[in-house]
Symmetry: C2
């Protein structure tokens, strides 16, 4: 086992705890020591023979420059809360309700042409001569009484949002950090020079860990503590905007974006909603800009003989590891913090030499959810194990190159259970990595295509972590898929039109009516609907979850109701009676609690088989359509049992028994078969010992597993 005791592990070093750093590096088999945000390593550590990572957040910690060049700061569009006119004149305060420490109005001459005033009652843009801005207020004239008006405007973002979050949440009191826009020519010159200086001044650093690039995900604070966060979206592009960006866009695309393209009646353009064509254009435009600038930074780093890894969070917007330009940046590594299996797959599948996972919990007193971890009442070893159960399933399917931790190492003192658990995980990780190095695990010849409005760009993730998006059934499905022995791809609606269903066995569409995951108006396309109809009729399978293929304008609420065998009554079926039905035994394992009810579901015809119902509402159905089958589920809530159910559904739909990839006879035990080394990996996902039988192509194998054990046979 000694071969698995060292390597592929990044330890957060801590100055002042040099001895501890070296001791823990030994225990966990680290080959890399890194600094963390706000910590600097001491010479005792940097000289101890480990590779060294150093963290840089390129756009912040330049307050002197930012204050000298306030127009080099980043911006965003904002929209005032609509206000009711009670006479023919109305005064609007643009920033009312926003957090005044985060924003200031950009009323510069170059910004004002982008401002807009809307009559929101009539959904009408006012001509510019109907309003004027002076002394921080917009005065609207010739209002229609009792219509509501709002002003959309550009605002400077005067507090870097991650720093702002730490201040307001963790009561930091240091100077507010500002952030620079690399689109500003002087700022861009300054940042490159700064990076060169940094590289020259830090010869011990082998790897620069960029946290991350330029533009933060959208995080808009309000002034009222009853709603401190007004809007937060891990994957939106609003914070990339500026007059310069908008002008460059217009020049390149031949049409101008307006405030309303971003403001969208005050709703903004959340990632959970289907993107407009203009938003897609703008994202592509920003992605190219970000890649170009990132490439320049990577070249500087390389010129100093260092490597450039990028951390995939915070100011990551525009980087898009599954976008068209990511590979062109030339990063040497991608680091992803993970709670979940889908995040491992997200990292593992990106086109970059080194894939590294940052495990949770971080070595912080309190976790992301605000509960204690490394402080009184915390159980860091339990948290670590809970996340590991998610992560290992995915690592069994697709390996990464490295793992590691973050935070303050001294918090591990006295946490023997945690320290031992991490040691064990590191060994298991190296063993899995070694297995993968000898050949991929056996896989079912089954390709699952997850269909939504974003397609491959949002492979695996919806936006952010599991717990940030867990009201969407799709993230639960992605989490289940991350550990199943099938090929998974993520496609969008144009892909369907372009033949993407060739070589696909099962299409999954899972979302809420009108959202990006269900697809919204994309389902008004007869081409998409008839192509999926053909696909199933000729023998393919469809799994629809919650409100799949929901759209307005058709004769059914679900555009694929005729294939799914169910439709939803949103009121339009008034006076139309439903089919009576009787629940039947499912031909596969059903984790009942994993399937919530969706209101209004009804059968389209009497041939549909109801495999589970909640009262008179079907929640799990099966419909034969031509040579193919469709499964409808009212929802999907991840659990080990739900994952097993999904596996059995995939097997049932494709007429397989699962032996090709190895399958256990217990819903709470998973396995993987590595044929090149004839190694069987069995994972006990339960808190009890399990004796299971694994079916393989060559026969069956009995395996005993301890609670939560991953056993290599």
């Amino acid at each position: 086992m000694d071969q698995y005791r060292k390597g592929g592990f990044t330890l957060p070093g801590e100055a002042g705890y040099e001895e501890l750093t070296l001791k823990m590096a030994e225990k966990w088999g680290a080959d890399v020591i890194r600094d963390s945000d706000g910590t600097k390593l001491s010479p005792e550590i940097t000289a101890a023979g480990y590779r060294i990572y150093s963290t840089i957040c390129i756009i912040r910690e330049h307050n002197t420059f930012a204050l000298a060049h306030p127009d080099a700061q980043q911006q965003t569009f904002l929209c005032s809360d609509p206000k009711t006119a009670v006479s023919d004149t109305l005064v609007l305060d643009p920033l009312a309700g926003y957090f005044e420490e985060q924003f200031s109005v950009n009323d510069s001459a170059e910004a004002m042409p982008f401002w807009q005033v809307w009559d929101r009652t009539a959904d009408r843009l006012l001509p510019p001569d109907q309003w004027e801005y002076a002394n921080g207020r917009v005065t609207v004239r010739n209002c229609i009484p009792f219509h509501r008006y709002s002003v959309s405007f550009l605002a400077w973002r005067i507090w870097e949002e991650i720093n702002m979050y730490n201040h307001t949440t963790n009561h930091w009191t240091s100077e507010h950090l500002r952030q620079l826009d690399p689109r500003h020519p002087q700022a861009w010159e300054y940042l490159q020079n700064w990076l060169r200086d940094w590289c020259a001044a830090n010869p011990d650093t082998n790897v620069i860990r960029l946290t991350s690039l330029f533009y933060n995900f959208v995080w808009i604070f309000g002034c009222d503590l009853r709603r401190r966060t007004r809007f937060v979206d891990w994957a939106s592009y609003d914070f990339t905007v500026s007059p310069a960006a908008l002008r460059a866009f217009e020049q390149e695309y031949g049409y101008a974006l307006t405030a309303e393209d971003f403001i969208n009646r005050g709703k903004l353009q959340a990632t959970h909603r289907p993107p407009t064509a203009r938003k897609r254009d703008y994202m592509d435009f920003i992605q190219r800009f970000v890649a170009e600038k990132a490439r320049a930074l990577v070249e500087i780093i390389h010129s100093f003989g260092k490597e450039a890894y990028v951390f995939y969070d915070d100011s990551w917007v525009g980087m898009e590891p599954y976008g068209k330009y990511f590979a062109s940046v030339g990063f040497d590594g991608l680091i992803k913090c993970v709670f979940s299996g889908f995040e491992c797959r997200l990292c593992a599948g990106a086109e970059v030499p080194v894939h590294e996972l940052r495990f949770h919990p971080y070595l912080f007193p309190v976790g992301l959810g605000g509960l204690p971890t490394f402080s009184e009442g915390g159980h860091p070893e339990k948290d670590a194990t809970a996340y590991w159960l998610h992560v290992r399933r995915a690592l069994v399917r697709q390996s990464v190159d490295r793992i590691g931790l973050g935070g303050y190492l001294h918090l591990t003192i006295g946490q023997d259970a945690f320290n031992d658990a991490i040691e064990k995980m590191a060994v298991d990780f190296r063993r899995l990595k070694d297995l993968h190095a000898h050949g991929a695990p056996a896989e079912l010849p089954v390709t699952v295509a997850v269909l939504h409005a974003w397609g491959a760009l949002r492979s695996w993730t919806l936006s952010g972590h599991f717990h940030e998006t867990d009201w969407n059934p799709l993230i639960h499905i992605n989490e289940a898929l991350s550990g199943l022995p099938v090929r998974v791809k993520f496609i969008h609606f144009d892909d369907v039109k372009n033949g993407a269903l060739r070589n696909v066995d099962i299409v999954i569409n899972a979302g809420r009516a009108g959202d990006a995951w269900s697809g919204g108006d994309a389902w008004m396309s007869p081409e998409v609907v008839s192509e999926i109809t053909r696909f199933v009729y000729e023998g393919g399978s469809l799994i629809g979850v919650r409100e799949p293929s929901a759209a307005d304008g058709g004769d059914t609420r679900f555009a694929l109701a005729h294939v799914l065998g169910v439709d939803q009554d949103d009121g339009a079926y008034a006076c139309h009676m439903s089919w009576e039905f009787q629940e039947e035994q499912a031909p596969f394992f059903v984790a009942g609690e994993a399937i919530p009810e969706t209101a209004g579901i009804r059968l389209t015809d009497p041939s549909v088989r109801v495999l589970r119902a909640s009262g008179t509402t079907p929640v799990l159905t099966l419909h034969q359509f031509g040579k193919g089958k469709a499964i409808y589920m009212g929802g999907f809530v991840w659990s080990p049992a739900a994952s097993r159910m999904l596996l059995e559904i995939l097997l049932f739909l494709t007429g397989r028994d699962g032996k090709e990839a190895g399958i256990t006879d217990h819903p709470l035990a998973e396995c993987a078969w590595f044929p090149h080394t004839e190694t069987l990996v069995v994972m006990n996902n339960s808190g009890s010992p399990l004796d299971v039988t694994v079916s393989l192509p060559s026969g069956t194998v009995p395996v005993h597993t301890e609670p939560y054990e991953m056993r290599f046979v």
Copy 2:
């Protein structure tokens, strides 16, 4: 009390039970004896000095004529279930899935031009040369593979629907009755002559009770017993259609209606959905036709010295007691069967000399819901009392002229409890009628306007009985209002534009997004929205229930979100955080169980007061908007306590204490004050004795009431 022992009571006589008939007439104080459907009175009864009602269903029981003139039968548009084309040719069976005993295809030369074939996938009407009809099948050519196609067609209705219901439900075996269309010239001649003959042959009859006129409400059966009723709508007009009607419509209106105006993508035009402008035109067209023909029948009846009462159910379509033409028919009386208070108000408010209620339960072995009444296991006296608690509240507010029963009188034998209960109700009814005769009860100077897409045309009712529409919060609200001491009117959206909010204190909008009761697209009108905004801003009140003012296309889901103080997240608020709130004590009585949660409700601003919440979802809120107030309720489920809550909300919104009309100090006791006779009526709506104090303008009065008692003080 003897003055209240006789009069205003219609008894169903029964041949073969002459002695019983006269005995029960004496006990219940009847002044009228009627026959029931399928029964004929014997001379012993008709000669006993009572006025005699006889029942006629004018359009049925003419099978000989119908068989001789099959083109005089009634029709409807139907639409085949869409079928997926798997090649370029598709064959459709129009009637597949429909009940073959109810319909036959009308493929006559005059009908075929009205047929349509639709590509439902592309929402496209096919040109007529792309399909042909032969041998009962439609063959569609040049189909787009995997699109779905349906044919809309005219069908003869060959079984009168009430007769069909009785056959299929109660296992009748007699000949299937057919129905004639009075638009057919020969049928119309025949029907008039038949009525003249009938009147001449039945000199004892004083009142002809028409059950009802010509066109039944829409009731479409399927062939599969798992969905015997495919569609049922008590207030839709599909069964009035025919080529002759469509041609006459086009001639008058200058545009043609097509099958799709009725079929509406297979959903038909249910009353619960907002009517199109074309449907409104068509309804008016039919209403005039029905009134004209009904007037001719009434004139025949009058010419024989008889009166004409009409029963408001079954073939009532086009009659519309709250329509423009009802009064012009010249009916002498309107009879309404009642389970509920709103039905009493519906009857009482119609413009006709005599208003008569038919009480439930009918003297049938089994009730409408299929449970025993006058058979083993039944408790007819309990049923009668339960309905009476609803009915008396409404009678206290607005009297009718007569009450009565229906069915087989012999079933009362041995039912002493029931017979005594009816006797007591009849006395109470006469007492109330007498009080009203001396002057109206005191009322609050409060006018409530119920706002929906139908307005006054659907005063009080949605369509059908309470239990047929009880998933709509509005019917619960109407039921509560039917017994409250306020003025109630029903208005639609054009009324709002035309100044209907003058002299209104409170507007109620209660429905589901997109339905006729919420209003649907009517809320896309800035005029409507700004007028209600003005109304509340200047001091009016708004009560919104479930999904009030919901519409697409605005910046909020509820067009009145800014007034209500709440909006609904249907997904568009993705990434927008909600306001945190704390529940407050309401300034009025809250019947918590009466207010269900509506999903996705969130506050629009922090000034909204949450008076009741379900978890993190507000279910009852109060918002001050300008000088006015708005109340939001997630739903409303009728109960005596819920009625009281609604009364207290109306009082709170108008700043009143309720003494003007009299008010009790107990939520389960209601009262009415008749100032002209200085009579106080106190109703105990609970199963326990209650000692209550009633506040009146002149002071307070203590009153003791027995369980369910109506006490006159």
